[in-house]
Amino acid sequence: MSDNTAAMSTTKERRGLTRPQMAWRAAQDIFDGAYVNLGIGIPEMVARFVPEGREVIYHTENGVLGFGPPPEPGEEVPELINAGKKPITLNPGASFFHHADSFAMIRGGHIDICILGALQVGDNGDLANWSTGAKDAVPAVGGAMDLVAGVRRVYVIADHVTSRGEPKFLHRCTYPLTGAGVIQRIYSNLAVLDITPEGFLLRETAPGVTVEELRELTDAPLAVAEDLKTIEAPSLS
């Protein structure tokens, strides 16, 4: 459970993709048979948009593998919750296990994909998503550090800039790190960026967003893929 309040910032002046569209775009990269851990917030939405025909097994670090969508109202079971403490259901073939076994799945590299929110991502793959380093804040980290250290593919879903217009994707994070060199891909409202040994590589842009704009809103050099694409997301809000 990570503190991604920044990712939940106000929607005013947002451009590009809606949040469901960001989740939709991330969902296209989840392959059939993947074991997936989704962070709290927008990442949770990803499960809704995985293309039909792909079977995905969801893991939640509090000790459930193979959970399904939220229950119907009135069907909630207090002992059947996810890491965000929200009610879940079970798919056939689900299992329960204790916390050490659950994090053995994470730390041991058994989860294929983790998607979470971010305060900042460095072009070296560093992630900051648990603390702004504010002196008066009560620090809280949850399982974010374990997830980014242990999962094979760690992706970020986050707005490209903060509600105050500051770039979230930058050469080096200024906030305390969650993990060093852990992020492979970013899904923002404006673009899909890969982190490569040479830094950010722009793969896809949201409709109407130019490379020049993205260079302005990204605080690090931005290479552009030869086959740069436009994200064609369905209408979702």
Binding site: H99, I106, R107, A140, M145
Partner: protein, 236 residues
């Protein structure tokens, strides 16, 4: 005959002394042993070190124990709860200490404590402020942090069913920290919704073998934090 069953919550927690280290099970309200925690509040032990993933919810259970000023030090991964203000208030006034531990490292440290492993290495937190001051080490070109095990004098745990020998099964995701806390505590005290005859639990299905459990208390209809919070309940 071995009989680990105790008659009351007060009896179950009677010997928890001032300064004790107490692991408390649960993740959110799932698995939270509210009745045992309330008995501990009644009992009066103070200056406690408490190990739990969070810091409780509302003004009951762990949050109430903290609010009552009984906890000197929290070891946890996410010191925030639902409608819970006791911990942040005390923390900002430097009236409670916090050791912040990544959730998986917390679980593994507890498991190590139960398994006789004094220390282990993990990549979790390497390169972050939470690894500051810890020994680092490279294995196969990757950097790891050395973490020490966690043990406790007592564990308070909630399970679903138990027998006189202390064998336990849990209820869904309420299993969470229960099995490993029972392993890591010198005295694991478990409240169960139902006690059954020895032999009634299938040997293939037992999650916590009785060897890890010292006391079993039946609490037939345990309270739920969410219900208590909805009622605006406070404890004591």
């Amino acid at each position: 005959m071995i009989d680990k069953r105790v008659a009351s919550a007060a009896e179950a927690v009677a010997d928890i002394g001032d300064g004790a280290t107490v692991m408390i099970g649960g993740f959110g309200e799932a698995g939270s042993p509210i009745e045992l925690i309330h008995a501990l509040i009644d009992q009066g032990a103070t200056d406690l070190t408490v190990i739990n993933n969070n810091t409780g919810n509302g003004q009951v259970g762990l949050a109430a124990l903290i609010a009552a000023g009984r906890v000197r030090r929290m070891i946890c991964s996410f010191p925030r709860g639902t409608s819970e203000t006791a911990f942040p208030d005390l923390y900002r006034r430097s009236r409670i200490e916090l050791e912040l531990v990544p959730q998986g490292t917390l679980a593994e440290r507890i498991r190590a404590g139960g398994a006789g492993i004094p220390a282990f290495f993990t990549a979790t937190s390497a390169g972050t402020p939470l690894a500051a001051g810890k020994e680092h080490r490279v294995f196969d070109e990757r950097e790891y942090v050395m973490e020490r095990c966690l043990t406790a004098d007592f564990a308070l745990v909630k399970a679903e069913r138990g027998d006189r020998l202390g064998n336990l099964v849990y209820n869904k995701a309420a299993r969470n920290f229960g099995p490993i806390m029972c392993m890591a505590a010198a005295t694991a005290i478990v409240q169960v919704s139902e006690t059954v005859e020895a032999g009634a639990l299938d040997p293939e299905h037992i999650v916590t073998p009785g060897i890890f459990v010292k006391r079993v208390l039946q609490v037939e209809t345990p309270q739920l934090e969410s219900a208590l919070i909805a009622q605006g309940a406070t404890y004591p």
